[in-house]
């Protein structure tokens, strides 16, 4: 089976070549990109133990059962070539909602046979509790040495657990922003601008309980996994106001995009820079995304091997290859996302490179940090089930 450049990819890249939209403007950060200039300090990253020892990719082949978002099976030329070379066949199961991953792994019994999944860093505590993330053999992941220092670090145990074992390979990321149709409304510097009466009925929200919670927490300057129970009301109030500005909560980002394209919405709470490109593919090239002054949150998706894996070697080889500079760059272009490999930045086309300020990654991640989801159980803090119930009530206007 050949996997050509992909259904969506061709059109998207053509488009990106033609125009230079999708520039995210971040506070005071200059959006000029020094193409990864003075970063000659490519010394060994903190965690890459197997660095120079064996540059050989692990010898792995056969079927690999893949469970994640469409496009996260990286259907780009460089990955295709490698995959064929290796003799790996990908059997993708695409999800429409992050929660399907844990539901499938836990619900499908031990025999489900998924070899590789991805997880959003906010899910790390839940997935650790559910035993979904198995330790990865770093000696088979030599390309880890190419990660940006930040993505290589053990920040918040997102990818490296407290025991020092690697549990995930961060390979793509992005920031949540305020996405709006520049032909209809002016740029907004605050999330609260969305509550302007003139936008009534025109604001799209997305059915992503965790993401919405994390964003509301940032706006209210709260730490999303440590919100005192008595503050749940504040978050509910805020979220209700945004939901009340629109009609119905979109089931997905793609759905928000189609609302922007069809004119059923002019701005999105919890938007995403990639939507600019999705909308442009549908003929509306005036969609832009920025991060308002209150800040936002970012997501980083990591590959991981669940306990159901039957071919972990293929999964490891796959992860390693996803960190190949060329592959990582092409994947970012295809997905309209960020790269985690330093050497990939200079390979990006202009539009994808302009998505995020790689020269000031720390500044961006301070404005839009990587959040942790609310805990599943706690006597002190707001839990995810509590928030989910509240969010469903907001959706139902109760």
């Amino acid at each position: 089976m050949t996997r050509s450049a992909g259904r969506l990819g061709v059109a998207r890249r053509d488009f990106l070549r033609r125009t230079g939209v999708a520039v995210i403007t971040i506070g005071a950060t200059p959006s000029i990109l020094a193409a990864c200039g003075g970063d000659d300090d490519t010394a060994a990253s903190p965690s890459a133990t197997g660095g120079g020892a064996s540059p050989e990719a692990p010898d792995a082949t056969g079927d690999m059962n893949f469970l994640s978002w469409e496009g996260y099976d990286i259907p780009v030329d460089s990955m295709e070539a490698w995959r064929k070379d290796q003799g790996i066949t990908v059997n993708p199961t695409y999800i429409a909602n992050h929660d399907e991953i844990q539901a499938k792994i836990k619900g499908g019994g031990a025999a489900a046979g998924y070899d590789i999944i991805t997880y959003y860093q906010g899910y790390m505590p839940l997935y650790t509790e559910l035993g979904i993330l198995t330790p990865l053999d770093e000696s088979k992941l030599p390309n880890l040495s190419g990660l940006f220092p930040f993505w290589a670090s053990d920040v918040e145990n997102f990818w490296i657990n407290p025991e020092g074992e690697r549990i995930g390979v961060p390979w793509t990321w992005g920031s949540i922003g305020l996405t709006y149709n520049a032909a209809e409304v002016d740029e907004m510097s605050s999330w609260y601008d969305l509550l302007d009466p003139s936008l009534s009925g025109k604001v799209a929200t997305v059915d992503d309980p965790a993401g919405n919670f994390n964003l509301c927490c940032k706006i209210l300057d709260l730490k999303s996994n440590e919100v005192p129970k008595d503050q749940l009301g504040d978050i509910v109030d805020l979220m209700s106001q945004f939901v009340a500005q629109g009609r119905g909560v979109s089931p997905s980002f793609g759905d928000m995009t189609s609302k922007l394209v069809s004119g059923d919405a002019v701005a999105c709470f919890h938007g995403w820079a990639a939507m600019n490109t999705f909308a442009a593919d549908q003929g509306v090239d005036t969609i832009e995304t920025n991060i308002p002054e209150e800040g936002s949150h970012s997501f980083c998706d990591s590959y991981a091997i669940p306990p159901t894996a039957v071919n972990p070697d293929a999964a490891l080889a796959w992860m390693n290859q996803a960190l190949d500079p060329t592959v990582n760059a092409e994947a970012a272009e295809y997905l309209v996302g960020g790269v985690t490999v330093e050497a990939s930045v200079s390979m990006l086309n202009k539009a994808t490179a302009a998505l995020y300020p790689y020269e000031d990654l720390d500044g961006l991640l301070e404005l839009a940090p990587l959040a942790i989801n609310a805990p599943t159980e706690s006597d002190e803090f707001v839990t995810f089930p509590e928030w989910n119930e509240a969010f469903q009530e907001i959706k139902a206007g109760a």
Partner: protein, 302 residues
């Protein structure tokens, strides 16, 4: 006959066995449904009494899930939404379906076959696609709004059309109307034109004809169709997610959410069985009403 029934003999036993023998042919299908319909429901029912262990269940047995499901104010709102969506969809399909069935049975001539074909064929258009098609019709730049704007009837797009309970009901009616028409058409089968003829000869006008002849006869099939549509439309969770606004969010969405996003399987199971119980209640009340009105079993000799 009476004496035979009182004192069963070997011959009747043998006859009974002979009459039962063809039932053996149903065994493969029965076994299949016991294994993959009854058994899973039973397991799911057991789950509803177990303790939530986050994407897993454990002992001890408890009624906690039922208590949670019944005391949640959210569930009450969603149940009301489901009920309204189900009732609106079911009554619309039946009310619209009756004249169509009548047309097919008594008015149509050559076009009957073609119309039957079209109506049945539309059932097989993709479910997901039909949901999306309604956005192209009802959206603010959709068919209706563009047409109205072009004719100058409105300046601003009508917002209530999409992302509302209205949109959900319209899409569900679109999905279930063909089914209802077929059931009602089948139900009109035994009504002969002669019967209508005689009623007219006796001076019945159209309204009297419907009230006194057609509706009583159609009560039972219409009720079956109503219950079927009510159950399936009030439990639908995909249509409300894509087309519904606030009051379009239904209990089905919450069940799915509890199972997938919250990982509380007992709660999802308990809510499902409470919903099933409500369906049984609707069915029982309806059947009881039909019986009281003596409409449950009108037979016509044709």
């Amino acid at each position: 006959m009476a004496s035979l029934a009182e004192a069963p003999t070997r011959t009747t036993e043998r006859a009974e066995r002979r009459r039962a023998k063809p039932l053996i042919a149903t065994l493969p299908a029965v076994a299949w449904l016991l294994a993959f319909f009854a058994a899973p429901l039973l397991v799911f029912l057991v789950y509803s009494f177990l303790t939530n262990e986050l994407y897993a269940v454990g002992l001890p047995f408890t009624l906690e899930a039922y208590a949670d499901a019944l005391t949640s104010s959210l569930n009450r709102t969603l149940a009301r939404n489901s009920l309204v969506v189900g009732l609106l969809t079911a009554s619309t399909t039946v009310i619209v379906g009756l004249p169509i069935a009548y047309w097919l049975r008594f008015v149509a001539r050559r076009s009957r076959l073609a119309v039957l074909f079209l109506i049945t064929a539309s059932m097989f258009a993709s479910y997901l696609v039909r949901i999306y098609a309604w956005r192209t019709v009802l959206g603010s730049r959709g068919l209706i709004n563009s047409a109205l704007e072009r004719t100058g009837l409105i300046d601003e797009p009508l917002g209530f059309l999409l992302y509302s309970r209205f949109a959900v009901v319209v899409a569900l009616v679109h999905i279930f109307l063909p089914y209802v028409v077929l059931v009602l058409f089948a139900g009109m089968g035994p009504v002969s034109e002669g019967l209508l003829e005689s009623a007219r000869d006796l001076g019945a006008n159209a309204s009297l004809l419907w009230r006194r002849v057609l509706l009583p006869i159609m009560a039972a099939p219409a009720f079956s169709a109503f219950v079927f549509v009510f159950i399936l439309s009030s439990a639908d969770y995909v249509t409300p997610q894509f087309l519904g606004g606030k009051d379009g969010v239904t209990l089905g969405v919450q069940i799915q959410q509890n199972f997938i996003a919250v990982g509380n399987w007992p709660l999802a199971a308990a809510t499902s069985f409470l919903m099933l119980l409500a369906f049984v209640a609707v069915y029982a009340i309806g059947s009881f009403a039909l019986r009281r009105l003596r409409l449950h079993d009108i037979r016509l000799e044709s």
